[in-house]
C-alpha cells in the first residue's frame, strides 16, 4: 500500500469554492427563471418547469454544499525533494507524480476571490503537462514556488 499524500490545501478554499458555487448557482437560477417565464408566457407544459426547479434545487445542494466539501476532503499534495505528488477528484480519484527534475516552471495565480482570502493557486508546468494546486495560503504558495523552482534547477539536459 502506498501512503497517500499528507498535506491538505487551505481550509479557506472551502469558503472560496462555496462562494464560486453560489455565483454559478445564482446565474443558473436566473437562467432557469427566464426559461420558466418564457414557457409560461407561451403556454408550455407545466411539468417542465417543475422538473427544471427540481434540477436546480438538487444542483444548488451539490454545487454549494456537497461537491466543494468532497473536493476539499480529497485534495492532498506533497512536495518532496525529488518529486511532487497530487491527489484529487471526487468520483474519479486521480493521483499524479511529477519528478522535480521534470518541472519546467512554476506559476502562482490569484483571482479576485482568492485574493480577498489571501489565497493563491500554484501551477506546476512540465514539458508536457501542467498541474494546479488550488487555493493555498499566500505565504505557502510563495514558499512552494521558491522551493520548487530552486529544486527544479537541478536539471539534466535530456529533455
Amino acid at each position: 500500500m502506498i501512503l497517500e499524500p499528507q498535506k491538505r490545501i487551505s481550509a479557506k478554499a472551502l469558503t472560496v469554492w462555496k462562494i464560486s458555487g453560489v455565483i454559478k448557482i445564482v446565474i443558473s437560477w436566473i437562467l432557469t427563471g427566464v426559461v420558466i417565464f418564457l414557457l409560461h408566457s407561451f403556454n408550455g407544459p407545466f411539468w417542465i418547469s417543475v422538473l427544471l426547479i427540481g434540477i436546480e434545487l438538487i444542483s444548488t445542494y451539490l454545487f454549494i454544499f456537497l461537491l466543494p466539501t468532497m473536493k476539499w476532503r480529497r485534495w492532498r499534495y506533497d512536495v518532496r525533494d525529488e518529486e511532487i505528488e497530487l491527489q484529487e477528484g471526487i468520483f474519479i480519484v486521480k493521483r499524479t507524480l511529477i519528478p522535480m527534475i521534470r518541472v519546467q516552471h512554476v506559476d502562482t495565480v490569484q483571482g479576485p476571490i482568492l485574493r480577498k482570502y489571501q489565497l493563491a493557486s500554484v501551477i506546476i508546468n512540465t514539458a508536457a503537462t501542467s498541474h494546479e494546486i488550488p487555493a493555498l495560503e499566500e505565504s505557502e504558495a510563495q514558499r512552494l514556488r521558491h522551493f520548487i523552482s530552486n529544486l527544479a534547477r537541478v536539471a539534466d539536459e535530456d529533455v
Binding site: E82, E85, V93, A128
Partner: protein
C-alpha cells in the same frame, strides 16, 4: 540586472493594435446591425470600448516587468489576475529574436523565449515584445553563460560517418500503399465526389420519376460510388508511394537521419538524446499480417515547428524484425517484450464502455424503424467485438528503467518509455473501478508541442500501484 525592467512603451501601441484587430469585426458587425437610429449611442459604445482597450493596454505594459535574478528569468504581469512566471535559465532552449516594423522604428527587437515546455497553454513560452538590441544580446549571453560554461566546438567539416539502419524495399512500399492509403483521404475524396454528384444526377427525378428510370439510375449511382472509391483509393495509393519512396534511415554519430520522398524530398534529423519514446502502431489489417509501423516521439521543435515531434521511423515492417533493425542503434530500449494483460474482470467494463455510445442509437433504431432497425444489431455486435479487442490488447510491463504500455484506440499502440523521460505519471480510480479493484494508468512524455504518452485502462489495482511506486522517487 536584478532590478525589474519594463519593456519599451512601443509595446502599448502593439497591444492596442492587436486588440483592435481582434475586436474590429465585432465593431463592424455592430455597425451594420445597429441601423435603427441611435447612431450616437453606438459611437458612444465604441468610444468607451476604445478607451478600455487603450487603458488596459497601458496597464498591461505597466504591469509587465522582467528581471534576471538567481539564475531565473522572472516575469511578472497581468492586470486583473497578477501572474508571476519564473523560468530557470537552464530550461531555456532557445531565444528567437525578430524585428517587426514598429520595433525597427524604435530600434527594438522582439525576443521569444522557448522552453521545452508546451504545457498545453498558449503562453507556455515568454515573449519580451520590445527590448533594446543590447539588452537582448546581454540576456542571450547571460543565458548562454548560465547554461554551459564550456563553449561548444564547431562541428568539423569532415564527412560524418553514417551507418545504414533501414531501407524500405519496393514490395514493402507497395504493401504500405495498398493497406494504409490514408482512410481520411479516401473518405474526404468520396464526400467531395458526392457533393459533385448532386449536380450530375437529377435526384428529384430519381425519386419522383418512373420506376424504371430510378432503377437504371440506381445502378449508375452505385457504379459511380464504387468508381469514386476506387479513384480515391488509387490517388491515396499514389500519394503514399510518392511520399515514402526511397525511404531510408541512417545513423550518424548522434542522430538518426530519415530521408524520404520522390518528388518532394524530405530529410528529418532526430538527435538520439531527444528521443522521448518509441511507439509501434498496428492497424487491424497490418496486425493481421504481422506488420506494424514504428514512430519516434521526440522533444523537437516548438509550436511553429511541429515537424520533429512524431516521426515515422519505419513505415511498415514485420513486427518480429523490429528488434533486429533498431536494437543495435537504440541500445537503451528493449523493443521485444511480453506484456502483462489486464485482469479478466475488466473485460465487461471494456465492453460496456464501447456500448455507451452505440446502445442508445441501436435502441432508437429498433424503436423507430421496427424490423429494419434490427439490422443495427450488427453494429452492436461490431462494437462488442471492438470492446473485447481493446480488452485483449491492453497490457503493460516494466523492464528495468523502461515502462511498456499497450492499448488500442483505433490502432493498437505499443509505447516504450524510459523512466527518465516520463514527464508525469497518473493513476486514476473511479468508484466503480475501486469496487472491482481496478485502476487506470497514464504516462505523459514530451513530444513536440504539448504531450504524448500512453494510457492503459482497468489494470489490476496492485499492478497500477506497482508501476506508480516504480516511478516514485520516495524511498
Amino acid at each position: 540586472m536584478f532590478e525589474p525592467k519594463r519593456l519599451h512603451p512601443i509595446v502599448i501601441v502593439l497591444t492596442i493594435g492587436k486588440r483592435l484587430k481582434d475586436t474590429i469585426f465585432s465593431f463592424i458587425a455592430l455597425f451594420f446591425i445597429w441601423n435603427k437610429g441611435g447612431k450616437l449611442l453606438l459611437f458612444g459604445a465604441i468610444a468607451i470600448a476604445m478607451i478600455v482597450i487603450v487603458l488596459t493596454s497601458f496597464l498591461s505594459w505597466l504591469r509587465y516587468t522582467y528581471r534576471l535574478e538567481h539564475n531565473e528569468l522572472r516575469i511578472e504581469y497581468g492586470v486583473f489576475v497578477r501572474k508571476k512566471r519564473y523560468i530557470p535559465l537552464e530550461r531555456i532552449q532557445s531565444l528567437d529574436i525578430s524585428e517587426g516594423i514598429l520595433q525597427r522604428l524604435c530600434g527594438m527587437v522582439k525576443v521569444k523565449i522557448e522552453t521545452a515546455g508546451g504545457s498545453g497553454t498558449d503562453e507556455a513560452e515568454a515573449v519580451l515584445a520590445a527590448i533594446s538590441k543590447e539588452e537582448a544580446r546581454y540576456i542571450q549571453e547571460y543565458i548562454a553563460a548560465a547554461k554551459n560554461p564550456i563553449v561548444h566546438e564547431i562541428e568539423s567539416v569532415q564527412e560524418i560517418p553514417s551507418h545504414p539502419v533501414y531501407r524500405m524495399t519496393p514490395s514493402q512500399l507497395i504493401l504500405l500503399s495498398l493497406t494504409s492509403g490514408g482512410v481520411g483521404v479516401v473518405i474526404s475524396a468520396v464526400l467531395a465526389f458526392f457533393s459533385q454528384l448532386d449536380d450530375l444526377i437529377p435526384f428529384e427525378r430519381v425519386f419522383h420519376g418512373v420506376e424504371q428510370w430510378a432503377v437504371s439510375n440506381l445502378i449508375i449511382i452505385v457504379l459511380l460510388i464504387f468508381g469514386g472509391f476506387v479513384v480515391a483509393w488509387v490517388i491515396a495509393l499514389i500519394g503514399t508511394m510518392l511520399k515514402y519512396a526511397n525511404f531510408n534511415v541512417t545513423k550518424t554519430k548522434h542522430d538518426l537521419v530519415i530521408s524520404q520522398g520522390l518528388l518532394e524530398k524530405r530529410q528529418i534529423t532526430i538527435p538520439l538524446t531527444r528521443i522521448q519514446a518509441i511507439r509501434i502502431n498496428e492497424n487491424i489489417v497490418h496486425q493481421w499480417l504481422g506488420y506494424g509501423s514504428v514512430l519516434v516521439e521526440s522533444a523537437g521543435g516548438s509550436a511553429s515547428n511541429q515537424e520533429g515531434s512524431k516521426v515515422l521511423l519505419l513505415p511498415l515492417v514485420k513486427i518480429d524484425a523490429i528488434e533486429n533493425i533498431l536494437g543495435p542503434y537504440l541500445t537503451d530500449y528493449q523493443l521485444s517484450s511480453s506484456f502483462n494483460s489486464v485482469p479478466k474482470r475488466a473485460m465487461l467494463r471494456y465492453v460496456f464502455r464501447s456500448w455507451i455510445v452505440i446502445v442508445p442509437v441501436v435502441a432508437a433504431a429498433i424503436f423507430f424503424l421496427k424490423e429494419w432497425g434490427l439490422l443495427s444489431l450488427i453494429v452492436l455486435a461490431w462494437f462488442t467485438f471492438w470492446g473485447i479487442l481493446k480488452y485483449k490488447d491492453a497490457g503493460w510491463n516494466l523492464e528495468g528503467q523502461q515502462l511498456n504500455l499497450r492499448y488500442r484506440k483505433i490502432v493498437r499502440s505499443t509505447v516504450f518509455i524510459k523512466k527518465n523521460k516520463i514527464q508525469s505519471l497518473e493513476m486514476k480510480e473511479s468508484y466503480f473501478q475501486k469496487r472491482k479493484e481496478l485502476g487506470s494508468l497514464e504516462a505523459f512524455v514530451k513530444a513536440g508541442f504539448g504531450g504524448a504518452g500512453g494510457t492503459v485502462i482497468d489494470m489490476d489495482q496492485n499492478d497500477v500501484k506497482k508501476v506508480y511506486s516504480w516511478f516514485s522517487r520516495r524511498s
